[in-house]
């Protein structure tokens, strides 16, 4: 059954939460008294729809329904999870929690607060145990981090349930074990922000120079390893102790202005706003959002290819959803066998706006893998030391797949013996063939590294299909070489 999330407080952060839940198949009910809330959330959602699917290698679930409630009561009724993202005023948050808890019982209530501790949020609450910090990072629909901070009053079982829900929507819940103002990440941001204000105020560097100093150097490092792992590597074989011994003394040097806080004058605000205009004013905020999102997608896909950091979170999210997806796919029947169903994902699109070339072969692999599973040459069979290897492929590129297209893969067996399968695969959109692939598969003993006959039960499943396919017309493209004239 579709579950429901209640989002209290719209805006960029609340909208990001709403988008994550919706795109992961949850129904969402939003309450925000701002008459502009619907438009604002619509804009965040549009960004998220263009971005989040590009991280996925599994078809997205059907989007949940989005409703705007007239009051907190209506929003939280029947909700399985509640996220509060109202302004950073403790009295306001307390009033919101009181209204939520008057209308719902025992449901996890995460707060997006960047500064308050959970014990402060829980003050005077009807049920303090359900209120905790779930602090996300903008853009919420892309960045995986959510700092989850309970207090001593929190219900540990409920916190674990909340963390599972956050994982379900693709996030990385970081359990902060000891409450502290600003949790962890924002303490660093605060430290850097203060130092940056000093540098601008003292005329050492402009906003643009500071941004270049970050993104051309350590910013790239920090997207994949953090502070300590980076320094561990820098310490070399001598290790972290050696690095600390080198770095330690620097702490005594006057390298930071952070001993006090720059006065926040109109003049300083104007100086920074003016430099920021000069730096980035040739882009609108919407353009910058799209550039940022596209860059983050590139980073996160690179990490996904490498199964590292945020990329590992993406893979685990795919694995959970792949299991659910395969339960809904039925193997095709008839001849040729329609055996694979796919959707063209944003990550499959190249700079021409078409499906990138190698994805046609990927689609064919999905098709041949499904066929091999059908005849029993599945992962268990491979684990036993035998497999079919592709030894030769000929591809005809006949049409172009576009974003979102639903594709099917069908397979026709042209010939076979106890070691070989000669197959013709069509990748189609409806009745239109976008690519055809003629392939030769060889059955191998993986340990011996040479061809050998397939197992008897595999051959027994292959034989009737191959025999049935003998009567099918032989495709024109079979036996063709590259550059051959039309028949």
């Amino acid at each position: 059954m579709t579950r429901k999330a209640a989002i209290i407080g719209g805006g960029v952060i609340g909208g990001g939460w709403a988008a994550r839940f919706l795109l992961n198949g949850w129904n969402v009910s939003v309450f925000d008294p701002d008459p502009e809330a619907e438009r604002k959330i619509g804009e965040v959602l549009a960004n998220a729809r263009a971005a989040l699917p590009a991280l996925s290698d599994v078809p997205m679930p059907a989007e949940g329904s989005l409703r705007f409630a007239k009051n907190i009561d209506g929003a939280v009724k029947g909700a399985d999870y509640i996220q509060e993202s109202v302004s950073e005023r403790l009295d306001l948050k307390h009033r919101v929690f009181a209204q939520i808890q008057a209308a719902s019982k025992g449901v996890p209530i995460g707060s997006s607060t960047s500064g308050f501790k959970p014990s402060e949020l829980q003050q005077a609450a009807a049920d303090p145990a359900t209120i905790f910090v779930a602090h996300p990072f903008n853009p919420v629909y892309l960045l995986p981090l959510a700092e989850v901070v309970p207090s001593a009053e929190s219900n540990p079982e409920l916190i674990e349930r909340a963390k599972d829900i956050l994982r379900e929507i693709g996030m990385f819940p970081l359990h902060v074990r000891k409450e502290i103002d600003a949790h962890i990440a924002d303490r660093f941001l605060e430290a850097v922000w203060r130092e940056a204000l000093w540098l601008v105020k003292d005329g050492v560097a402009t906003t643009e120079e500071i941004d270049e100093a970050i993104r051309m150097g350590f910013g790239l490092r920090w997207g994949q390893m953090g502070l300590f792992e980076t320094y561990r590597v820098a310490g070399g074989e001598a290790g972290m102790k050696h690095f600390m011994a080198q770095f330690g003394p620097c702490l005594q040097w006057p390298w930071t202005k952070l001993m006090d806080v720059p006065e926040f004058t109109e003049e300083l605000v104007d100086l920074i706003a003016g430099q920021s205009d000069a730096q980035s004013g040739n882009y609108t905020i919407r353009e910058l959002e799209r550039i940022r999102d596209s860059n983050l997608i590139g980073f996160m896909r690179a990490l996904k290819d490498r199964n590292w950091g945020a990329g590992r979170v993406l893979r685990e999210h795919d694995d959970r959803r792949r299991a659910a997806f395969h339960q809904t796919v039925k193997t095709g029947q008839g001849a040729p066998l329609v055996i694979a169903h796919m959707q063209v994902l944003p990550g499959w699109i190249d700079y021409n706006g078409h499906m990138t070339e190698s994805r046609y072969l990927f689609a064919a692999s999905e098709t041949s893998d499904a066929f091999l599973r059908l005849i029993g040459a599945d992962m268990d069979y491979v684990a036993g030391g035998h497999s079919y290897y592709t030894v030769e492929t000929h591809i005809m590129h006949l049409g172009e797949a576009r974003l979102g297209d639903r594709l099917t893969g069908s397979i026709q067996i042209l010939g076979s013996d106890d070691k070989r399968i000669h197959a013709f695969i069509r990748i189609q959109r409806g009745t239109e063939t976008l690519a055809s692939l003629e392939q030769m598969f060889l059955h191998v003993d993986m340990n011996a590294g040479r061809a050998c006959p397939a197992a008897a039960d595999v051959l027994a499943r292959l034989a009737p299909i191959a025999e049935a396919h003998q009567s099918l017309p032989r495709p024109d493209a079979a036996g063709r070489h590259v550059g051959q004239g039309k028949n």
Copy 2:
């Protein structure tokens, strides 16, 4: 004529500088009294050779020669650029500069110092005007940032010359206009490091939790936009002033421990080193270096695809080298062009433990894309409405790539006319060909949806290469169809 760089002080930083110069075609002479220097620099250079070419879409120039000098005199003789990377002791640096300036005159001398100001480095120098800060970031062979800091004593013309040299080796020289301890970037690193030490000391978070708080959230943001541009976007349409108004008051909150410095006790060092072992100890430093480099390559290639940040630096570097490369392509100089360098990433591996089938075509696409960029059919050309489409492919699977393998892609032009390119691509591991791909590319007018002749300048770049390749032996697999008997 090949130019020469002198590297004074080996180690990780000096080795990184040496690698950048060598791989960009400079001769390099190193002086370091450490008997281990040759081995250490060899290790950095091996990492760099495996990493830097993966960022390039232009064939790398011939590597320069590497020599180890017996003294500073020998190292700097005839050098066009000198980089000092000795220990962070001012008296030592002064002695090194004195020896350098006794043996060479008027040559730019950059210092890798992370803390000293140029005016401090210049004290008592024979020629203060040639000494400046050129502060790089580890890994020096990959990260583009070099903070260039002159003092009032510096020669502005020499500083501009030095910046041009840094650009030539692919770096981004950030001109720091006002000297200050630790320049710009390290002031931020210092602020974050102090805060992190407090958090570990107080038991709020472990080194691993801190690293996750960085790399799952703001670290990803900072690799592509810096502090101010990120916040500008967060401020939304209301802009930077609005953001400042929101963020400003937080500065008054006690969100940082930075008002004093944690005492650097043995106990704190042990605590951090122990947590770091628990976090990353299952990898050796060499493994972590390779993981880091592979991740950085992924980030930087993503930015290169988007022409943003560090990716723009890579493109400009390619543009400079492309011009130089085209001057070296002459008729009669025939060999398949080795144009793509790749590494088999974890995401490319299938359940057999081998590179998944479609990645061979992906590798070929990387190769043909690099070739098309070389002849000017690049993303700008595509944006203008024209492109080469693959219409047909024949693949021979000849070997298996495994995780971590370094692959090269080479292309041989079998034939071409004004609309077509008939190419033969080899994906190799060393001298072993793992797959060969025969492909036909058709030049299309994307708006009209039909074939048309390529632009004159593209054809002009294609012609001499195609002509040179006429004399190459025709591959056996060219013209082959699937299942054909061996010749």
